[in-house]
């Protein structure tokens, strides 16, 4: 896990060392050290919460720039459905798709189409009697990583079907080669237009050429490029082939409702999602068939690389999808099988406890004991002044030798007051 590549970074010059990100990090991966935030990469799940809350814009998502895309290749844009919700007064998705061609892409394949294919495969998968229920969506990479780090038992519940981004890249390449048989894979360059940094990490970490996505660019970068070319009088060519289901994937609940099974749960926002996983892990929710979890509030429309308020984007998408066919894309073949080529295996992921004190049980016990002792000396107000998000985290850091008790301002003040009292008493005695 040490080699895990992240896509959230810090600009030290802008960081004031305040406690906003510290308090919002869902995995307690941040500490303030020397007036700057430090991210523990073994715990970071690339959710982007710190980017969302930083008042100084010191946290940044790392992604590919449009200028990084090689000009001489056959460039395929893979727009996430959340992109459609960014534009005001958009009458038709085709304006966006044509805009992408106008800014230099050679081909466009809507990720919404791939989402419909994934929905179709998911319905097939759900018919199998032997699958571990509830099936948990694997489309949000933050959730997948969170499960790998914290809920190893739920790895078997993850939907073992490639996420829409991956199916989109595959289908797009297939389409490109059908139309232009002279193209080889290395002549083609697939570019995902992403609402979030987690998708960037997903692509970076799919090693051995497993991912067919070559570049991941930010939705906000593309947005400003598109604004310049979309003000056209003539109507665009009708090229969109996505249906209502595909567009609905942009916001929370879209994927789950497409399963056509009412025993589902859809939660959004990393804290809610975490809580749901905790409860499923405890064996609650016996009745559920499908669980859709999105790290961002509102779903993908709430990603930190989007432009508009997620609920506005959701409302816009709702009006765009009106009068669209329910679904325009289906999984191929007989209606039952799921080919190996679209399957993804999550069960082999090795569980690495990122929390454990030590591999030695006796030593761990001793440290736990010491931690409790330290914790009782702390005020329990979770002020963050020491650079750790909670008093419990601070106690952990002290036991691990990464902080010293004197860094707790409340504890130190009490120590000083006691000292002061003692000195006064001494003076009086003299």
């Amino acid at each position: 896990m040490a080699s895990y590549k992240h896509s959230v970074s810090l600009n030290e010059e802008k960081c004031h060392g305040c406690t906003h990100c510290l308090k919002h990090c869902p995995t307690e991966a941040i500490r303030i050290r020397n007036k700057h935030a430090k991210i523990d990469s073994t715990r970071c799940i690339d959710c982007g919460e710190c980017i969302r809350v930083c008042p100084h814009k010191a946290k940044k998502a790392v992604y590919d720039k449009l200028s990084d895309i090689p000009k001489d290749k056959w460039k395929i844009a893979l727009p996430a459905p959340s992109l459609y919700g960014q534009f005001d007064n958009l009458e038709d998705i085709d304006y966006v798709l044509e805009g992408l061609l106008d800014i230099g892409f050679d081909q466009v394949y809507e990720v919404a189409r791939a989402a419909e294919i994934v929905s179709d495969y998911t319905r097939r998968y759900m018919k199998r009697p032997d699958v571990q229920r509830p099936v948990i969506s694997s489309a949000c990479p933050v959730i997948v990583r969170l499960i790998r780090l914290r809920y190893p038992f739920l790895a078997d519940n993850l939907l073992p079907i490639l996420p829409p981004i991956e199916i989109a890249a595959k289908e797009a390449i297939k389409e490109a080669v059908e139309k232009h048989p002279e193209l080889k894979r290395e002549d083609i360059c697939t570019v995902f237009i992403s609402p979030c940094p987690a998708k960037v990490s997903y692509v970076k970490n799919e090693t051995d050429g497993k991912s067919n996505v070559d570049f991941v660019v930010s939705m906000s970068d593309i947005y400003f490029e598109l604004l310049g070319v979309m003000n056209k009088d003539e109507s665009p060519a009708p090229v969109s082939k996505a249906g209502l289901i595909g567009l609905s994937w942009a916001s929370a609940g879209g994927e789950a409702t497409a399963i056509f099974n009412e025993k589902y749960l859809a939660a959004d926002g990393i804290e809610h999602a975490n809580r749901v996983l905790e409860e499923i892990d405890n064996g609650s929710f016996p009745e559920l068939e499908f669980v859709e979890l999105n790290a961002c509030p509102g779903g993908c429309v709430g990603g930190v690389m989007t432009v508009v308020n997620p609920y506005i984007a959701k409302a816009r998408i709702r009006s765009l999808r009106r009068y669209l066919p329910v679904s325009q894309n289906k999984a191929p073949e007989d209606g039952y099988t799921i080919p190996e080529s679209v399957m993804s295996d999550y069960s082999d992921a090795p569980y690495e406890s990122v929390s454990a004190f030590s591999s030695d049980r006796e030593e761990s016990m001793r440290m736990l004991h010491d931690m409790e002792e330290i914790r009782q000396k702390l005020p329990g107000i979770d002020c963050g002044g020491c650079g750790a998000p909670t008093c419990r985290c601070f106690a952990l850091d002290v036991v691990r030798g990464r902080a010293s008790l004197g860094e707790c301002v409340v504890f130190m003040r009490e120590e000083l007051e006691n000292l002061h009292k003692k000195l006064q008493e001494n003076d009086e005695r003299r």
Partner: protein
């Protein structure tokens, strides 16, 4: 260090929504000890069911957890109405939970059986009108 590490949780009977918090806390602590996830899960489930039971039937109580090098011991004490027929209470599907609790999806009569299933030893001591003490051990 001598003896076990001890944690005490007051389970608030007034607040149904807080049921399950001791389970989460103990889970976090066991993770620090690097226990096998299967063991952590069993402890967490047993604890969770126990907490829910105390809230539903006894208006809350106290959970004390001792972590020893070779086992986790959970003692759940309440001052509730007690269990009239422990054998009957242990049978799957038997429940005396009120309807409002069942509407929330609890009270399916799986609590005690689940606690038994996930622990290596379980002892129930109950006095009608006085309360119930359940001791559970998960060997690590």
């Amino acid at each position: 260090m001598e003896g076990p590490v001890k944690f005490v949780y007051e389970v608030d009977g007034e607040n149904f929504t807080s049921a399950g918090e001791a389970s989460i806390s103990i889970k976090k602590n066991l993770r620090l000890l690097g226990y096998n996830p299967n063991i952590i899960r069993r402890v967490a489930i047993a604890m969770y069911e126990g907490e829910i039971n105390m809230v539903i039937h006894a208006g809350g109580g106290r959970a004390t957890v001792y972590i020893y090098p070779d086992r986790v011991e959970m003692i759940l004490e309440d001052n509730g109405p007690g269990i009239a027929d422990i054998e009957l209470a242990m049978s799957e599907g038997y429940s005396t939970a009120p309807d409002k609790i069942r509407n929330l999806g609890f009270g399916a009569g799986m609590g005690l059986p689940n606690m038994k299933k996930n622990t290596d030893e379980m002892k129930i001591e109950s006095v009608l009108g006085k309360g119930t003490t359940i001791t559970m051990i998960v060997k690590t």
